[in-house]
Symmetry: D2
């Protein structure tokens, strides 16, 4: 049994961790820390957990745990680790961006099991990947793995509203967002750094641009990325290469039917789909941004860190509709 602590327990990624860990057969939740909700039932904030747990938000007790999930928000993990002297034995899984770029140089392992599984198994500290980054990287890894990225890469990805967190703003207002889509941070999204770094890990000679247009979708969960680039593989070869690359990765599948984003919602899965048009290979990649794109992947990393089966506790019922 792995003893788990969560800090920043009132946010979306913490809520999602709790939804998984409550039913995880080898996890014991030691504490869920939240400064603002201390003492209140966890289900007062994460209302869907009412009836599932009697946990309350409490102070952190780092001696009681084997692993700490840090859900404090971007920019806050660095500060937290400076101010808190954690026991050496406590492993860390950080869901913020703080240690993702150049993770190695900072003593972290970039927690994408589909490229770093062995390293993760031996790591102490995991920088859990970003949601867009996960979705797009999984679409590119088999190409980079054979140094096939030779021209610019074109990516448009549409994300659910939960990707923007729970802070109410004008662009998270239902009256505005309902039935609406819009572009933000085109060509400049912060995940481009970790995407490029991950591609370079497999294909060090990649020197073209990745053009990335993020779109705010009018749905709650999920990311669909459409990616295309020049590639000399035939459609059949491409499918074969992708299947081979992901053979030992239980959450990634290659579909021969064009996917929709909802088919992976509430699961830790990534579904990939390939089409060839002239010289261009198009890849569609879909994930749930809060699961494979955040908390599900964090639990996958926990499983690997503690030598448990990678899918333990992650056999999740899809929502389907």
């Amino acid at each position: 049994m792995v003893n788990v602590g969560i800090i920043g327990g009132a946010g979306y990624t913490a809520g999602e961790l709790l939804r998984i860990l409550i039913w995880h057969p080898q996890a014991n939740i030691s504490f869920v820390q939240s400064t603002s909700h201390m003492g209140h039932p966890v289900s007062d904030v994460h209302r869907d957990l009412f009836g599932d747990t009697d946990l309350s938000f409490s102070e952190a007790d780092y001696k009681a745990i084997d692993v700490l999930f840090i859900c404090s928000g971007h920019g806050k993990t660095k500060l937290f680790l400076k101010e808190n002297n954690l026991p050496e034995a406590v492993k860390i899984i950080d869901l913020s961006t703080d240690f993702r770029p150049k993770a190695n140089e900072k003593g972290f392992v970039y927690g994408l099991p589909e490229i770093n599984k062995a390293k993760i198994a031996n790591a102490d500290k995991i920088a859990n990947p970003g949601c867009f980054a996960t979705c797009i990287e999984l679409g590119l890894l088999p190409l980079a793995n054979e140094s096939k990225l030779k021209e610019e890469v074109h990516v448009t990805a549409i994300t659910g509203s939960t990707g923007a967190g729970q802070n109410p703003t004008s662009t998270s207002h239902f009256s505005w967002k309902n039935n609406n889509v819009s572009v933000y941070k085109a060509f400049t999204h912060q995940h481009l750094a970790e995407i490029t770094e991950t591609v370079l890990q497999l294909q060090p000679n990649f020197d073209k641009e990745i053009n990335f247009i993020p779109v705010r979708g009018n749905f709650s969960r999920g990311i669909m990325a459409t990616i295309y680039t020049d590639c000399d593989w035939s459609a059949e070869e491409a499918v074969e290469k992708y299947k081979t690359y992901y053979k030992n990765h239980p959450f990634v599948s290659i579909s021969n039917i064009s996917p929709d984003v909802k088919q992976v919602v509430n699961t830790n899965k990534c579904v990939l789909y390939l089409e060839k048009h002239g010289s261009k290979l198009m890849i569609i990649s879909v994930i749930d941004n809060l699961l494979k794109g955040a908390s599900g992947q964090a639990v996958q990393n926990m499983n690997l860190l503690f030598g448990m089966p990678e899918i333990l506790g992650l056999g999740l019922k899809p929502v389907g509709f």
Copy 2:
């Protein structure tokens, strides 16, 4: 040409007024006041007006206008009228709740044309009805008119998100509200006062309860109220009575097909539908909360105040989908 001023110009009801008045053949918008957006283009706030108008938010100039729409928010009109000495000639249409209950005693006319058309035509100050109130009252007027309300009235009404205004809150957050419904203020909604008062205007002996359960719907615009009560009219009689009552009211129609809320969205219409079950008469009433439930009705009142055709500028293209 009627010269119009709007105060509280950045809110939802002001935006909706502008959407109508820009194309109204007999209205000239003299000013749109907003403390917080002074000097900025109106279309920076009401983005859908980009390309339709070059108006900017400005200070109020009460000498320039024939009518003032007050869109300042509930509780603020009283204060405003105390602090500002408006020219006597300026007519007032107030969209807040401030003067609705006991409007007469306060020098206002309750601006529901389907009961007070003649009074409105001669009024100086209009208390524009609430959205739920309008939807439910239009369902009850023909019954009250013949003193047929003899037992309790049962009402459930579901409203679009714009009914709650533009302030971002936890219950207006897209991630929460999307695909979600919930009840609020059951049996205690503030519109019950004006509904009861309006019913009593036609049927002074009504002394039963109106049970009203408001529901937050996961759509942007519209209200659907389902109402039932005991009534000794047959279905055919009821339809006849309703058609007679609304004969001279161009925005209210009696349908023989069960309505859906979207069929009136972006119009000033109210569609009513009747079914008889045993001793009970069920009435379904649908309106657009921002139009017949707020700004559309306000323009209807303006038309009446200035002796113009009631539907002028209100021949609105429905959104349909």
Copy 3:
């Protein structure tokens, strides 16, 4: 290990059963029958199962199973049982309406564990309750249990689109249903029969009307019922009585916060909430129509039929958003 067969495997309730049973620790899916999709992968129809299962639709083999889930659609189970001679040892869980009214007289047990748990444990054939019926009955059982239903009962319930099945029709068309609500079968819905029968099982002297207005909601999953009736319990007494009634029923909880329908989506839970207004007790009841309202309850019944823990395989991660 329980060996399971499913007939009518391409519909919504069968898909939902599969989403649960694939991860159920004591269930083995022997076959999923579908006339129209014979031989094709189950995940070609239930796309969200891609990556989770390699099952294909096949012919039924009744000798291989311990329990048969019948998902053939209303009216078809009677015919099926006439035409097929099932081995006596095979237990049946029927998800259609066919055997619900007067289930006992037909050799079935009405499968609502919160009233019939002991009978279900000893049954051979289960008539799985309807979705509206489950949601409303769970709101009324504690009242009926103490013979407190003395006046008319008023119910409005709004349901997700999956309640209407997968057949594409004009009212299931996205362009119409999106951002839209409407009433159907007011006062005449077919579930009224089983609701009344269930109430009478606990309170045989109940002789008032249950007024029921069903509403089509613009969301995929979930039902929210608002119920009120006269009751002489105080608010505190009512909460106490409800908590006592459901003490041994793991899927029903009494909340002291007004619930929203999404908090139970993708779970087998029912959340109840109570308010007292004058002489009236209001009950809000929320469930997921495909889970507690159909396939989740069917698995709960399977667990009881085979002496397994009631919640086995039903510790489901909520979708939350």
Copy 4:
């Protein structure tokens, strides 16, 4: 007053024409033909017109009209014109794809006023552009006009459900489409032909590919296209060039705020927005697919055909929310 006939009157584009024409000050609807609904009120099919019109579907009477809108569906106009001998004086506006590619060779004018305004004014037969085509072409015209399209063009465009028509299918089913997005016809969409042809009309030397990925959005109305390509204009120059190009085109505006699709819903407007990133110019273009992308543009063409102001009857209240 222009006398108007509509054939194929029960479909989405015909409904949208009616929503506009009912309030158009210079249009008189002579007939709305529908084979399947002959004799029934128009508002039985287009429910949102209930209360606005008493028109019924009837047979066509070509002698009574000045202009015929053909809304029969793709592939059917050719057949219709073969089988029906229209009076020479009747002008034709065809909303299908039948005469769009190589319109000139077939005696039609491609009805995009922003490139062909003068030709339209003198035409007899208009091939009304496709919805994606309109949205994308308006984003490219100022570039093509100065022969600035020198490299490949990258386009992703997301469309509302009404773009797919009213026929109920598995991908128009609410339970599937709600909260869902997916790709279709990537690189092969039929509108690529008319887009390329329109670009070539202004820049005959354009010989690069237009890569186009269409996405099905989970909203009812609207298209947002994001377009990028290499361009040596600075951001400021680009804005200036676009403003100059569209100076005399009342429905196209260049915004300096990134647009959202809902800001043009229920209007005939196109809003364009430009950003420069390195050597690439990104253009965002938003329209309402049923208005500027279909029936609104058809009325704009009618206005031009009959020498009326281009915006007559098209001063439409946006839905806003």
